[in-house]
Every structure is written in structure tokens, then in C-alpha cells.
């Protein structure tokens, strides 16, 4: 419901520039927006609950929560947290997490924190083709290791040796995937590496790239079979 | 697949055969390829010989039975029941109008479909149990006495150990008697070999076999062994065929090469002695050297010649042999002393070797080791030559290890030493003597067997008899009787059972089996 199977968007403002986006995000209708919103709210609350759990645990384990706080803002925060901690819900939470050993709690909650913060629901990968400049692949979704901005890779045109569709074993099946063979590199660059789209999409993208990347004078790209 | 041209010109259904060859036009009517021609009829009754398998044997077990009606409407109803040859003749005649008869060849373009199965030639040279010779009772019993001997000797060893362990027997007496027996055996051996060297043309280095000293003469071993067997071929009747064949052959080659070897014996002999001290793998040098000595020789001659050269001390007969025997006795005594002192040195270490190990595991271990010894023992004991020492390494080692392990359970050094020495005598030397005795004469063999059985029975009886000192011999006697009974029963019963099992034997041989290459000069350059 929240995600669909990978499907293709094409943005092509001018015949020399095109962006092919394969995404699992369905078209944004109102109910979908609402669902996403509620999901994010849920994640946020979960995040804070976990934080608070850790805090209460910290209070119960260490006795220095009565340290005099100079910074007024921190002081206010501490006092609020303390009241929250003393609230019945806080007490219940404290009693709940009391039996769990600290290391186990940390081991559970810190990955959960990362998950709630970083996890992106929709994976979308795109291929930007600029005639005369090159190709740029970008990926978002799942866990953004490193940085939050989409991981992009730009390949100048004169570095591109070829763009082809390949087949390979993946798990228990054979998948089609689009690769860019880069001059002077020993690994090919796989386009749409996360969600390997199906053959229809891949072929559409391949034809689009072949049409868009090079000038029309070597138009023999079209109709040539897989390299 | 093209039909032969002759068929092509023949006016009878050329296109039919055509369509048959390349099955491209399925809608075309296929020439009447009737079931009788392809499906094997079941002719179990009329099969010429039982060993000739008909195709239906292959699947009649698994396939649903065919209706007889299936065959009645072949080509004419009656001829299915006629004997096969007639039918085939008739069929071939009737077919010869239409096509050549089926040949079991791949290169001819047959006018038959690929899955055609010809009655006459299908599985024609399949044989069942071709080389099985039926056992008969008494030789079987006689042969199985060898096993009996070995088992009995093992039992005796165990009995001795138990005796020593329970300190009912003094180790010194055990090892003393054992050594005494060994010495007697060796003297006997020496005497026999002396006789043998008198009446045979060869007395190479007979008593080398007594104890490991024949090592110095390993290079000549094979040649001399052949010759030796040729010498005592009358007595060597019941040796197994495969061993007999090559030996005879190469001995013949010996006789062929006789003069040359006589001629260049001295040079080659000192070659041989020189090289025989080398580590294994010196064959090349030896052969080359001998080839240097006789440059004009072809390879076979060179091979024989080299062998002769090194073993040629045997060919120069009496004058050399006396001196040889003296030297061999010396060597034997030397290695005996060597072993003796080695054991003496090691026994204190052995004593404390497995102290930390629990006794049960030791018993289990030694049991398994002895079992290995019994199962891997070289019962064939093919007697090829005085120097071929029938030592099956694995079984002997297992037995020795078992004895070592057992010995390490003994409290005192003397016991350890004596038991180990005794085990060497029992497992190392005694088998040689047994084999030789069997070769020597059947009487000795039987005598030995009876003695062993009695001894084993008696020992077991005494051991099981328990501690009561009054009349231990009664237990012993009972043991003897029981032992005799059991052994007789085992011998008879087992061989009878084995013979009974023969009728279940069903081997299938055919052209597909990898052929056994018969190579006369086999393994002349291996294992060294």
C-alpha cells in the first residue's frame, strides 16, 4: 500500500537531457500522504520514547540526576524530563525496562534509534543523461550510509565506453540490469543497483540513454541487440 | 542420415526409407516396422544359453507384463514361438527384400531407426559369472586353517598378556620360551633354506628372510624371487595364478638373458652392491650403470641384466653362498641385538606412557588394533622366494602398536620389555615362519595348526579358569577340548556356508567393463 513495485518516471525537458527515475513511491494521493504523515509521526514518537527510556534507565542506574544545572534551558529541560519521569507513564516505563540489563537495552535501542531516524521508506534511483556532459546515477532510500543526500556518481561522456543490458544470477534468479562500462575502470557501474527493475523498464531506459546521450549522427545505436 | 545408395536406387519405397532416415516428415507413412522386429519377444525357454541375456531381462522386472496378444499380431502369428534362430533367418529373408540386415556398426548408414533393437545382436556378448570356479569343501577348510592359525596366535598373545598382567605368569618365562621357540624356528628355517639352496640352481641369499637383513638385497629381490619360484615350482603349485604368470614369464626372460648376464656379471655385480646401499629410487642409476657395462644391450636385456647383475651372487652357486650365509647370520644377529637394546631403552618410557589414560580406553584401543591386525593380515602369504617377507605393514603395525599400548599398562619395566619382545616374536616373525612352513610341507602346517589351537584353547581355559590354584590344568584341558570343538565347528560351518552362498553370485560382464590389461613385465619401475 505504501510502496509499489518499481516503476519508471521520465523527465525530458529537452531532447538532449533526460532523467529516468525508478522508484517505489506510488503517485501521491491524499490518503497516501496522510498515511506517510502518520507513519513519520509514529517514527518520531517512537524515537522520543526510546530516548526517554534510555534517560529513565540512566536515572535509575546513576544517582547524579540531582546535579545542579547552571544553564537555565538545560535546567528547564531536566526538570521537565524529571516530571515526565515521575509521571505514571514514566514510572511504568521504568518498571518495564528495569529487569533488562543495561548493555542489552543499549544494544536494542541504539539500532532502533538509527532506524527510526535514518530509514527511508521509498527507494528511488535515477539516471540523469546530459548530452555532451555525461551520465549521473543517483540512489536514495533504505539506509543512507554516509550522508543523507542521494549518493550520486557522475561519469563524463568521454569516459563512457558503452552502456549495455546484462544478465546475471542474483539469489535464485537471473536478472537483467543496466551497466555502464567506464573507461579505465575495472568494475562496471550498475545502474539502479538496489531495485533492479524488470526487463521492460531496463530496455526503455537503455533505448532512452542511447537516444539521448550521443548525437543523432551515430544513430546506429537503436535496434542493436544487447552488447 | 542417408540410406546406402543401393537402397536409394531400389524402387521399393525409396521415399519411405528417406522419411525414415530423416524423420522430418512425420505425417508421412512410416514403413511397417513391426513390433516383432523391435520389441524383444520373451523367449526365456528357447534361449540358447543361460548366460545370454535377452533385452527383456533388462526391464521385465520393472515394466508391466506384456500381453501375449501383443506378439501375436507381429508379422504372422506363429513364428513367434519358433526357436529364435529360425525366426531370425526367416525374418532376415523376409527383410532382405526390403533392406540390408541390421549390423551393429556405427559407420554404416543403416536403414533402421536409431532406437531399433536387434534380437540377434543385442547383448550378444554379455556373460554372467564367467570366471567363477565353484569351491569344494575340503580345500576350503584347508585354506581357512591359515586364518585359524593367525587368530590362535593372537589369542595366545592376549592370553600371555593377561597372564602377565594378573601376574600369574612370570614375564621372563614367557619371553624366554618365546625367544627359545623363535630361535628353534630360525634354526629350522636356516636348515630348510640350506636344503633349498642345495637342490635349486639358485641359492641367492635364502636366509636373508630370517630377519630384516635382506634389506641389503632388496634390488635383486624380484629377479631372484622369480627364479626361486621357478626353482620350487613343484611345491609352488597352489600359488595364485596371477602371481604365477608373470613370474614364469620373466623367469623365461632370465633364461634368455642367461649368457650375457653370466658374462658381465662381475662388473654389474659390484654395480649392484654399490647401488644397493642407496636409498630407494636408485633404479635409474642402476639400470644406467648396467647399460654402461653392456652398451649394446636393448632395454629388456638391460632390465634383466641389471636384475641379474645385482642378484648374480646367487648364480655363482656354492663357493659364494657359504660366505654369504655366514655374513647373513651375522647381520641377522646384529639386527636382533639392535632391536633388543632398542626395546630395553624404550621400555621405561613405555611403562609410564599411558598412565594418565584410563584402562577402558586402552582395552578398547588395543581391541580395535588387534581387530585391524586380524582383518588386514596378508593371508594369501604367496610364497615368492626366500626373501619376500610377507609383511603386511598395516596389520603388523597395528599389532605392534596394540602390544605397545598393552605393555604400557604393565607396572614394571621388565614386564613391559618382555611383553613387547614377545609381541615382536609373535606378530613379526612367527607369520613368516608359518607361511614358510606351509610352503615347506603340508604336514608341518597341520601340525602347527593343531599345536596353536591346543595352545590357545588351553591358555584361554586357564585364564578364564580363575585364580584357583588347585588343578589349573583341568581348566586347561577343558579349554583345549572346547577350543578344538569351536575351531572345527568354525572351519566346517564357515566353509559350508560360503559354499552355500555361491549360488547367489551374479556378476555381469560385458564389453563395457574396463578391460584388465595383461602386462608381462608389470611394475618393473614402480614403487622404487
Amino acid at each position: 500500500m505504501l510502496t509499489t513495485t518499481a516503476h519508471l518516471y521520465i523527465r525530458r525537458p529537452s531532447p538532449t537531457t533526460a532523467e529516468f527515475t525508478v522508484t517505489t513511491r506510488p503517485a501521491l494521493t491524499l490518503p497516501l500522504r496522510l498515511a506517510l504523515l502518520s507513519l513519520s509521526i509514529l517514527r518520531l514518537t517512537l524515537f522520543f520514547v526510546i530516548l526517554f527510556t534510555l534517560y529513565t534507565r540512566f536515572l535509575t542506574t546513576s544517582s547524579l540526576h540531582s546535579s545542579p544545572e547552571t544553564n537555565p534551558l538545560l535546567l528547564a529541560l531536566a526538570s521537565h524530563l524529571h516530571t515526565l519521569h515521575l509521571s505514571p507513564a514514566g514510572q511504568a516505563l521504568t518498571r518495564l525496562v528495569a529487569p533488562i540489563p543495561a548493555w542489552l537495552l543499549a544494544g536494542i535501542s541504539i539500532p532502533l534509534l538509527c532506524f527510526t531516524v535514518a530509514w527511508e521508506l521509498h527507494t528511488s534511483e535515477s539516471l540523469l543523461v546530459l548530452r555532451g556532459l555525461g551520465i549521473q546515477t543517483s540512489t536514495t532510500g533504505g539506509f543512507p550510509w554516509g550522508s543523507w543526500r542521494p549518493a550520486t556518481r557522475f561519469i563524463p561522456t568521454e569516459k563512457i565506453r558503452d552502456v549495455l543490458i546484462n544478465e546475471a544470477f542474483r539469489g535464485f534468479e537471473v536478472r537483467y540490469y543496466l551497466v555502464v562500462v567506464v573507461e579505465g575502470e575495472e568494475d562496471v557501474v550498475v545502474v539502479f543497483p538496489k531495485l533492479l527493475p524488470r526487463r521492460k523498464i531496463v530496455e526503455a531506459v537503455w533505448r532512452g540513454v542511447r537516444g539521448c546521450l550521443y548525437e543523432a549522427n551515430d544513430g546506429m545505436w537503436y535496434g542493436v541487440g544487447k552488447g | 542420415m542417408a540410406p546406402p545408395s543401393g537402397l536409394q536406387q531400389s524402387a521399393i519405397t525409396p521415399d519411405a526409407s528417406n522419411s525414415l532416415e530423416n524423420g522430418a516428415q512425420p505425417q508421412h507413412h512410416h514403413p511397417v516396422l513391426v513390433r516383432s522386429a523391435t520389441v524383444p519377444v520373451n523367449l526365456k525357454s528357447s534361449r540358447p544359453d543361460p548366460s545370454h541375456l535377452a533385452p527383456e531381462d533388462a526391464f521385465v522386472s520393472a515394466s508391466p507384463p506384456r500381453r501375449p496378444g501383443l506378439f501375436d499380431n507381429g508379422n504372422g502369428s506363429g513364428n513367434e514361438l519358433r526357436p529364435r534362430r529360425m525366426r531370425r533367418k526367416e525374418a532376415s529373408r523376409s527383410r532382405s527384400r526390403r533392406r540390408k540386415r541390421f549390423q551393429k556398426l556405427l559407420w554404416v548408414k543403416q536403414s533402421y531407426p536409431d532406437n531399433y533393437t536387434d534380437q540377434a545382436t543385442f547383448l550378444e556378448n554379455l556373460q554372467r559369472n564367467p570366471r567363477v570356479q565353484p569351491y569344494d569343501f575340503w580345500p576350503l577348510v584347508a585354506d581357512s586353517t591359515i586364518i585359524l592359525q593367525h587368530v590362535c596366535s593372537v589369542i595366545i598373545f592376549i592370553v600371555c598378556f593377561v597372564g602377565i598382567f594378573q601376574e600369574r605368569v612370570s614375564p621372563v618365562s614367557v619371553v624366554g620360551w618365546g625367544s627359545f621357540a623363535t630361535f628353534i624356528g630360525w634354526l629350522l628355517w636356516d636348515w630348510w633354506v640350506g636344503q633349498e639352496s642345495q637342490d635349486g640352481p639358485v641359492d641367492g641369499t635364502p636366509r636373508a628372510g630370517a630377519m630384516g637383513t635382506y634389506r641389503d638385497f632388496r634390488p635383486p629381490r624380484r629377479q631372484d624371487s622369480d627364479v626361486g619360484l621357478q626353482a620350487l615350482s613343484p611345491s609352488g603349485v597352489n600359488t595364485a595364478n596371477p602371481s604365477a604368470l608373470p613370474s614364469a614369464a620373466s623367469s623365461s626372460t632370465n633364461l634368455i638373458q642367461e649368457p650375457q648376464t653370466q658374462r658381465h656379471a662381475p662388473s654389474a655385480s659390484n654395480n649392484g652392491n654399490a647401488t644397493s646401499l642407496l636409498t630407494p629410487g636408485h633404479v635409474h642409476s642402476r639400470s644406467v650403470s648396467s647399460i654402461h657395462s653392456v652398451s649394446s644391450q636393448t632395454s629388456a636385456a638391460a632390465r634383466a641384466g641389471s636384475g641379474e647383475a645385482c642378484g648374480s651372487s646367487g648364480y655363482r652357486g656354492a663357493p659364494a653362498s657359504r660366505w654369504d650365509r655366514a655374513k647373513l647370520r651375522l647381520g641377522t644377529i646384529k639386527s636382533a641385538i639392535l632391536i633388543y637394546f632398542t626395546l630395553l631403552g624404550l621400555s621405561p618410557i613405555l611403562k609410564s606412557l599411558t598412565r594418565s589414560t584410563s584402562s577402558d580406553s586402552i582395552w578398547a584401543m588395543s581391541f580395535w588394533l588387534l581387530a585391524i591386525n586380524i582383518f588386514f593380515f596378508d593371508y594369501k602369504g604367496s610364497w615368492d622366494g626366500a626373501h619376500k617377507f610377507p609383511v603386511a605393514s598395516l596389520s603388523t603395525n597395528a599389532a605392534l602398536m596394540a602390544s605397545t599400548v598393552l605393555a604400557s599398562r604393565l607396572p614394571s619395566t621388565g614386564q613391559v620389555f618382555s611383553l613387547t619382545l614377545f609381541s615382536i616374536e609373535v606378530f613379526g616373525l612367527f607369520p613368516v615362519f608359518r607361511v614358510y612352513a606351509r610352503q615347506r610341507s603340508w604336514r608341518y602346517h597341520v601340525l602347527l595348526t593343531v599345536l596353536l589351537v591346543l595352545g590357545a584353547g588351553c591358555g584361554v581355559g586357564m585364564v578364564l579358569g580363575g585364580e584357583d590354584e588347585h588343578l589349573p590344568w583341568k581348566n586347561g584341558l577343558i579349554g583345549m577340548v572346547v577350543g578344538c570343538l569351536i575351531s572345527a565347528l568354525a572351519l566346517g560351518g564357515c566353509s559350508w556356508w560360503l559354499i552355500g552362498l555361491q549360488k547367489y553370485k551374479n556378476e555381469i560382464y560385458g564389453p563395457w567393463d574396463p578391460a584388465r590389461p595383461i602386462i608381462i613385465s608389470r611394475r618393473h619401475w614402480d614403487d622404487e
Partner: protein, 792 residues
């Protein structure tokens, strides 16, 4: 018509009239006469007729004529567009965009590939063209102009088009018409030749702040010594061979890639536009400086009388010049007489330091034989000292290069990595020293306590623990079936050695606080020093474990081999060395006998030896791990990319990690421009942004080192060594420290080179000097100076 000339004309006319008054009266009479005789009406009629004719005939004719003319004018344009009518416009987003009409100036990389540098307002394109030809616009450039051209790969700047001009004025068809304005962020570009247009917007990096854009990520490590370390790594065989198989794998893969090349169907020859990218990146890096320069020189375009200065201004100016001249004179005085002395002194000091460093390094790197280990391979301290010395030797060179950078354009981006490296190492050493001072003061304060602790630890773990474990092994531990006698023997042996050793330790104990104090003192040279010293101390104080390990390993290995061969004998086989296979072989009786007994013996003795061996092997492994930890700490202290991280946080533009493009939706863009009369060609707006270097790339060498350590110690080879009792070699220092050397050049500059560099520096300064002065001085001087520079 200029208002001033109008005024003069009016004054002249007034004077003339006053001079000749009668002529005026005559004219009046004549007019009255003409009116009386109906001249006016006739003239009016004639005028009406003429105007009628004009309206009815001439105007349509003129219209037609102009349309024809226009047709004729636009006809060639309409056939103009080329086969690949893609126009590429690189446009700086932070270009000032007033609505005024102006001229677009920039590089023209190929007919349809333009790079916009600046928009010059209120000038005639013709003048701009000529000015560009004459190089007027590049007057008084601070640095040689030719360098611009060589780096930007173009012979000259061009007028690319006009901005905000009305459609009526016709321009060169290859020019672009740009409509910008404060309202629209994206200019609307049209070109007569282009059927489709890519507008690529980019932020200009500020060379003043050492920002720049590059296609490939900035290299934080010196890249000049891959092969060099191959040579060094040659002395440990195992490293060597796994590197070899690495290389073979690479070679194989390369072959596969070569195969892949054959797969491509048509080799596409890159067009000029595609090859231009690297050039364009350079031009982007230059864009800021050049625009500044152009804007500064815009005032020179056009023929305009130079307005002479008023008296007051002249006074002010002369005063300032006097002051400046004074300052300059003083400055020169100082520079000529005082500064060289300081410089010389400083340089001599440096040279002295350099020479001592050279000597020390020679000592540290001395090897008795080429294969032998040098001092720095043995001890971590020596290694540390060597690294520091190397850095000291390298800094002056780095500094010189950075100084030389000063008298070049700011946009030359080649030396930025050097800059980062230089300051990184400085920062690291500073850091190191700061931490070291804290640590050292702490250690020195309670040296005795630390010494006690250490000696306790030593006696506890390297003596008592061993003793207890050995004595535990001596009495059948954990139901292991050990042979008592052998265990007794071995245990007693080792215990004896341990006792001896512990007595040595005891002898050493009183000296320990002093050592600790020394270590603490040494840590004023940086926290890395005490760590290295501790690591050495550890390896010295655990020599006995090492030797135990060696001995037990030997015994175990030997026994294992014997057992294997005896087992072959047991099976009645033997290992044929010549064919390297197992042959069957019939032994003699006594061989079998002795062999079997020995086999049994060793077989039952094996567990005891194994237990002892494992004991010491584990101790050894623990020590190796500890040392590995120390080494890792060292490399962290020595190589942590502190400065880079700081830059990354402060100004990501300074650590470029490549570029990326963003395709913008063109709808809003179209809405913005649809007021423009002419229909736009299909346009795509693309943003070019610079990716800052990601952290993975910053810490790449750490990952590399971790990989090395893992590959060395967790490899099956090492496990095999442990199991068969072969000696496990510690990780070769080189491979561990290659990380730290990656900041340093493969071979350090010799003393003489440094001397030359030192002496080259002041001359560089002198060349830089006349540039520094006139910045204070005024326009005229500046002008002359500029001409000097530009001619010289």
C-alpha cells in the same frame, strides 16, 4: 547632441541677434508681405497634398521594403541551426543580474558551447570586442595573463551575446540573447542557431577562500609511492605473496575488462563538446577572479574624455602619496637591511636542524645488510622519531611550495592538497604535543604510582599468570590425558626460566620509576612518543614469553612432522619426495618395529606438547594484539585527518569530491519567461554542484590499514601456522606504517635541495614585492605598474 554644445550654440545665436537688429525687422516685414499675398495658404495646400501622397504611397512602400529587408535578413538565420543544435550555456548563479542591457562576455569553447563570465552593462558590444582584442579588459592583472589562457585552454575571451536587448536590434546569429532580471533566478537564453539549450548553472567557487571544483576527489595522501612500498614490503615473504596474488587478480580482471571492450558495438568518438569538461571545470574555478577583473576594467571601455582631477582631490592625493611614499621608504629600508639578516639566521637554524635530522635518520635507517632489519623496523620509538624527523624535513619544502603559490593566481588549484596536508601535519603535531603535555605531566606527577602499577601488572601477568598456568598444566588439567613425566619435565624447565626472568625483573624494579619518569618527560614531544615507548617496553619485558613461544612451537612442529611421516610408515606407505606423492613401500621388520613404537610414543606424548604450545601461543597472540592496539593508536595520532575534517565542517567547498548535476523542473521557468515575445527553444535547466569529500574517502587509509591487519592476522594462513606450530610472523611494520608515511614523500629532499629551496624563497618574495606596494598606491601608479607587469 550634447547639452553643453547646445548651450554654446544658444549663446552664439543670442549675441548675433543683438548685433544685427535691422535684419530682424526686415524679416518681419517680409513675413507680413507674404501673408498679405496668400503665399501661406498655397504653401499649406501644397504641404497637405504632399503629406497625403506620403501617407498613401511612401509609407506602405517603406513597410513592404522593411519587411522584405527583414525577410532577407532572417532568411540565413532560419537555415542556420546545425545538425546538433544543442546549445550549452554555463551560467554562474551568483552573477549580479540587474535589468539593464549589457554584453555577455565569456569563453566560447565551441561554436555552441559557451561559458559566461560576466555581463558588462552599458557598453557597446563592438567596443567590448575590440577591448577584448586589445586586452584592455585585463589591464593591471595581478599575475601574468597568459596563465589564464593556458589554464582555461582558450586563446581569448569572446563576446557571447547581449542581455536584455530589445528584439529589434539584430545581432550576430551565433550570439545569445539573455533576458535576466532581479525577478528571475534563471536567465532565459535564446540563440538563433540553437534548437535546444542546456543552461547549466553553477556556484562560482571563491578562490580567495581556496574553494574549488574538481572532477575527481581531492587526494589527501601523497600519491607518489605505490611502487616504492612494494619494494619495501619485499622482505616479508607472506606479505609479498598475498600482494602478488592481489596483483595477479587485478591483472586477470584487467584482461576481462579488455575483453569487455570488444563487446562495445560502435566506438563513439567523443566530440569537442564532450572533451571540454575538464577545461570547463577549470574555467569555473577561474570564473570569480576573472569576473572581478573584468568588472574592474569595465570603466575603460568606450572613448570617454578622462575627467581631470579637481584641485582639492589633487591635494588630497598628493598628501596620501607622500604618506605612502614615506611608509614605502621605511618598509624598503627595513626590508633591505634588517629582514635579510633574520632570514639568514632563520635559514641557518633550519639547515642546522636539518643536518642533525639527516644524521639521526641515517642512524635510524642503517642496516647491516640490505635484508636485515633497520632500527626503525625493530622498535616503535625509533619509528616514531623517524616519522617526526621526516616531517620536520618535509615542512620547509612544503612551506616553500605554498609560498610560491602566493605569487600566482588564486584560482590555480594545484596546490590546495599540499596546503591541506601541510596544515594537517602541523595541526597533528600541535595536537599531539598538547595531548602529550597533559599526559606527560600526569605521568610525571605520579611516576612512582604508574611504575608500581606497571611492575605489578608485569609480575602479575607475565610471571604469576604464566607460572599458575604452567603448574595447572602440570597436574592433569581438565581431564586432559597428559603424560605426567613429560609435563613435569617441560613445566619444570619453563618454571625455572620464569624464575630466572622474574629475578631479572626484580632487579629492574627500582629503576622502573625513573624509566616511567623518562617516558613521561619524553611525552612532551607528543603523546605518540610515550605510546611508542610503552610498546617497546612491552616487547622488551615479554621477551621470555616470546622465547617460550618459539621453543614450544619448534618442539611441536618437529613432533608433528615426525608423527606424520611415522603415520605413513604405519600405513606401510611413504611420502615420495621426488614425485611429491604417497607411495606404497614395504619396510623391513626392524624399521616397522622401531617406527611403530616411536609412533605410539609420540602419539601419546602429543597432547602434552600441544597443551604447552597452545598456552604460550595464546600468550604470544595476546601480546601481539596489544602491540597492534598500540600501533593503531600511534597511527591514529599521527595521521588523523584533523584539518580535513575541520575544513569539511567549516567549508565543504574546499574539499571537493566530484560534481553532481540536478535537473530542475522547467515549468516554472517557462512561466517566468513566457512574457518574452519570441518562443523559446526547448530548454533544460541544470544545476551543477560540487560534492564535498565524503568521510569514507577521508578515512580511506584507515580502512586500508584495518583491512591489512585483518588480512594478516585473521587469514587462514596464520591459523594454519598456529595449528602446525610454524612461527607466526608479526605484521610487518612497513605495511602498518605505510599509512603514516602516506603524508610524506617517498624520498625526502636532500640537504642541498632544501638549501636551494630556502634561497629561492626570498627571490620569490622580491618578485612579489612590487605587487604588494602599489595596492596602497593610487590609480595612476597602479596603472603604470599594471602596464609594466603586463608588458614584462
Amino acid at each position: 547632441m550634447h547639452p553643453f554644445s547646445i548651450l554654446t550654440l544658444g549663446i552664439f545665436v543670442a549675441g548675433y541677434i543683438t548685433a544685427r537688429w535691422d535684419l530682424v525687422t526686415r524679416l518681419c516685414e517680409l513675413a507680413i508681405f507674404a501673408w498679405d499675398y496668400g503665399v501661406v495658404t498655397r504653401a499649406a495646400k501644397a504641404f497637405g497634398v504632399l503629406s497625403l501622397v506620403f501617407l498613401l504611397i511612401f509609407i506602405p512602400v517603406e513597410r513592404l521594403a522593411t519587411r522584405e529587408a527583414n525577410l532577407w535578413l532572417t532568411a540565413p538565420l532560419s537555415v542556420m541551426p546545425e545538425h546538433d543544435a544543442l546549445m550549452r550555456v554555463f551560467w554562474p548563479t551568483d552573477l549580479p543580474r540587474p535589468g539593464l542591457k549589457g554584453v555577455v562576455v565569456g569563453w566560447r569553447n565551441s561554436p555552441l558551447d559557451v561559458f559566461v563570465l560576466a555581463i558588462l552593462e552599458e557598453v557597446e558590444p563592438r567596443n567590448v570586442e575590440s577591448a577584448l582584442q586589445l586586452g584592455t579588459l585585463l589591464r593591471n592583472a595581478p599575475h601574468p595573463v597568459s596563465r589564464i589562457y593556458e589554464l582555461c585552454g582558450q586563446s581569448s575571451m569572446r563576446v557571447l551575446g547581449v542581455s536584455n536587448t530589445p528584439e529589434s536590434t539584430e545581432v550576430d546569429p551565433s550570439w545569445i540573447r539573455v533576458a535576466t532580471g532581479p525577478g528571475r533566478r534563471v536567465p532565459s537564453v535564446t540563440c538563433a542557431r540553437a534548437s535546444s539549450i542546456q543552461i547549466i548553472l553553477f556556484e562560482r567557487p571563491l578562490p580567495g577562500r581556496m574553494q574549488y571544483i574538481s572532477l575527481n576527489p581531492i587526494a589527501l595522501a601523497l600519491g607518489d609511492k605505490k611502487g616504492d612500498f612494494r619494494h619495501d614490503g619485499a622482505d616479508s615473504g607472506e606479505e609479498e605473496d598475498d600482494e602478488k596474488e592481489e596483483r595477479t587478480r587485478k591483472a586477470k580482471k584487467r584482461q576481462l575488462v579488455e575483453k569487455l571492450k570488444q563487446h562495445s558495438i560502435v566506438r563513439h568518438v567523443p566530440s569537442a563538446k564532450e572533451k571540454a569538461l575538464a577545461k570547463i571545470i577549470n574555467q569555473m574555478n577561474w570564473a570569480w577572479e576573472l569576473e572581478q577583473l573584468l568588472q574592474k576594467n569595465v570603466s575603460r571601455i568606450g572613448n570617454r574624455p578622462k575627467r581631470s582631477l579637481s584641485v582639492s582631490e589633487r591635494v588630497v592625493e598628493s598628501a596620501t602619496t607622500a604618506r605612502d611614499m614615506m611608509l614605502v621608504w621605511l618598509w624598503d629600508l627595513f626590508r633591505v637591511y634588517v629582514l635579510p639578516v633574520f632570514q639568514k639566521l632563520f635559514i641557518f637554524g633550519l639547515m642546522g636542524h636539518r643536518i642533525t635530522a639527516e644524521l639521526l635518520l641515517l642512524v635510524l635507517e642503517w642496516r647491516a645488510r640490505p635484508r636485515y632489519a633497520a632500527l626503525k623496523d625493530i622498535s616503535a620509538t625509533a619509528q616514531q622519531v623517524e616519522i617526526r624527523l621526516q616531517q620536520f624535513c618535509y615542512w620547509p619544502m612544503q612551506y616553500v611550495t605554498l609560498r610560491l603559490r602566493k605569487n600566482d593566481w588564486g584560482s590555480v588549484t594545484t596546490s590546495h592538497p599540499d596546503y591541506i596536508r601541510f596544515y594537517n601535519s602541523l595541526w597533528l603535531v600541535a595536537n599531539d604535543v598538547i595531548i602529550g603535555i597533559a599526559l606527560g605531566s600526569y605521568i610525571i606527577d605520579n611516576a612512582s604510582w604508574v611504575g608500581e602499577e606497571i611492575s605489578d601488572l608485569l609480575s602479575k601477568y607475565t610471571v604469576e599468570a604464566l607460572q599458575s598456568s604452567i603448574s595447572w598444566l602440570m597436574g592433569w588439567p581438565a581431564g586432559l590425558k597428559l603424560n605426567t613425566e613429560l609435563a613435569e619435565f617441560l613445566g619444570d624447565l619453563f618454571l625455572w626460566v620464569i624464575d630466572y626472568w622474574s629475578s631479572c625483573i626484580e632487579a629492574l624494579r627500582p629503576a622502573l620509576p625513573h624509566i616511567i619518569w623518562f617516558i613521561g618527560f619524553s611525552s612532551f614531544a607528543g603523546a605518540s612518543m610515550p605510546i611508542a615507548l610503552f610498546s617497546d617496553l612491552l616487547s622488551i619485558l615479554t621477551i621470555h614469553i616470546y622465547s617460550f613461544y618459539l621453543a614450544s612451537a619448534r618442539i611441536y612442529h618437529w613432533q608433528l612432522n615426525i608423527l606424520v611421516s611415522l603415520f605413513h610408515l604405519f600405513r606401510g606407505k611413504k611420502h615420495n619426495v621426488l614425485r611429491n606423492r604417497i607411495d606404497s613401500c614395504d619396510y623391513d621388520l626392524d624399521q616397522l618395529l622401531v617406527g611403530t613404537i616411536l609412533f605410539t610414543l609420540l602419539f601419546f606424548l602429543l597432547p602434552t606438547v600441544v597443551v604447552f604450545y597452545l598456552n604460550f601461543a595464546f600468550a604470544r597472540m595476546a601480546i601481539i594484539t596489544l602491540k597492534a592496539v598500540f600501533d593503531t593508536m600511534l597511527s591514529c595520532l599521527n595521521h588523523f585527518p584533523l584539518f580535513a575534517i575541520m575544513l569539511r565542517v567549516k567549508d565543504p567547498q574546499r574539499l571537493p569530491g566530484g560534481i553532481r548535476f540536478e535537473l530542475r523542473d522547467t515549468q516554472d521557468f517557462r512561466h517566468a519567461v513566457d512574457d518574452s515575445p519570441s518562443p523559446l527553444p526547448s530548454t533544460s535547466v541544470i544545476y551543477l554542484k560540487s560534492i564535498p569529500l565524503n568521510f569514507k574517502a577521508m578515512f580511506h587509509q584507515y580502512f586500508q590499514m584495518g583491512h591489512r591487519i585483518r588480512k594478516h592476522y585473521l587469514s587462514p594462513h596464520v591459523v594454519l601456522c598456529l595449528l602446525t606450530g610454524k612461527f607466526v610472523p608479526p605484521l610487518n611494520r612497513k605495511n602498518l606504517y605505510s599509512l603514516q608515511y602516506s603524508m610524506l614523500p617517498a624520498r625526502r629532499a636532500g640537504v642541498m635541495e632544501m638549501w636551494d629551496a630556502m634561497n629561492s624563497l626570498p627571490s620569490a618574495k622580491k618578485r612579489a614585492a612590487p605587487i604588494i606596494v602599489p595596492v596602497l598606491a593610487n590609480g595612476k601608479k597602479l596603472h603604470s605598474n599594471g602596464r609594466l607587469r603586463s608588458y614584462g
